[in-house]
Symmetry: C2
Subunit: 213 residues, 2 copies
């Protein structure tokens, strides 16, 4: 019978497992070929089943991608949500950079899937960007602005600060091949994330140090 993504979504054990298997495979395929560059056959093969079987668990290609994007955004914004104004501002920013960098290292497929979507104009998640994401950014920007008012960090545009942290950290997932090609075989090992973390933490802590201590 039909067990689509609709409201009730009663699922048996096997249905949940197979759906998970398909989503895992689809993440692989979508993140490396983009939406239009991926085929259901590729996803089916990666999941070890036939194409009609994939279509038995999901309405269609679009449905798989939508499901993937929805659960992606939650994990993706988690580090920003943790952003708190309780601790020391510089430490807070430093640990945010570290968390984002760890995500780029541990979840590069998710990062690339997201980048692919944004690059092509975010046709499927525009409402989420203008709603949930913007609201969260506005909230955190206010926290940052508070730190600046209190003279705890240097004055700068909070939104562009957030953008620059996103850009520098996600770069190591999205542009991974370029990073490795430029660093070469000797320096392109797994410790490139360590080097990046050190550099970025230094850049931002120095760059945001308050003018008069």
């Amino acid at each position: 019978m039909s067990m689509q993504t609709e409201a009730p979504a009663r699922r048996t054990r096997i249905q949940r497992e197979k759906r998970e298997l398909i989503l895992e495979a689809a993440l692989d395929v979508f993140s490396t070929h983009g939406f239009r560059g991926s085929t259901i056959d590729q996803i089916a093969e990666a999941a070890g089943m036939s194409k009609p079987n994939v279509l038995y668990y999901f309405r269609g290609k679009e449905d798989i991608h939508k499901t993937l994007m929805q659960r992606l955004l939650d994990t993706w914004l988690a580090p920003l949500r943790e952003f708190d104004d309780s601790g020391d501002p510089i430490d807070e920013i430093r640990s945010y950079i570290r968390r984002k960098l760890e995500m780029a290292r541990d979840y590069p497929r998710e990062s690339r899937l997201f980048a692919n979507e944004i690059l092509q104009g975010a046709p499927r998640i525009m409402p989420l960007l203008e709603g949930e994401l913007k609201a969260l950014c506005d909230e955190k920007a206010e926290v940052i602005r508070g730190w600046m008012r209190d003279g705890k960090i240097a004055h700068a545009d909070p939104w562009h600060l957030i953008f620059s942290i996103w850009a520098t950290t996600q770069h190591y997932a999205d542009f991974d091949v370029q990073v490795r090609a430029v660093l070469g075989p000797t320096r392109g090992g797994e410790d490139r994330f360590e080097d990046a973390a050190l550099f970025l933490e230094n850049l931002f802590t120095q760059g945001l140090k308050p003018p008069r201590p």
Copy 2:
């Protein structure tokens, strides 16, 4: 007759014009839909001609994309080539940031085309990354390292410094829709590049200021 991309490439005036027209249209289409997401029909329509006519000037879809990528990389690396160790280091870095940001503003399609290629593993330009790009980066990294030895800027990894400038500036072209969505209608106007320039110049100059003047 055949006037492909091969060695001699004798071209009449009209051939050069039409090829240019097609490349301009293809840049539009490829940069917004990716390689596999684009069709020759779309390119033909954008160029105001028929599909077979496009195939008359180029061997095929791959040929158009390859030609586009080749001439792209030259303009793309131009700012880095200008990077010189003659002037003041901080000024040099600042003006590099400004140039890259101007490119993100004035040539967003080129940036997205490049990003699309890298995201998908750079299948078509890998040799260029490992060759030309790496060599250029190594050269400039040495220049930067010289500045650090002379105590003109703070010590930091030159390669990751280059990466962070790439990432932060290209972000405003590649993730444009997200930037605009987060900034909202009031702050997402054309002056967002001005704000970004101010923020980034400040971040990097403060972050790289030498420890003891």
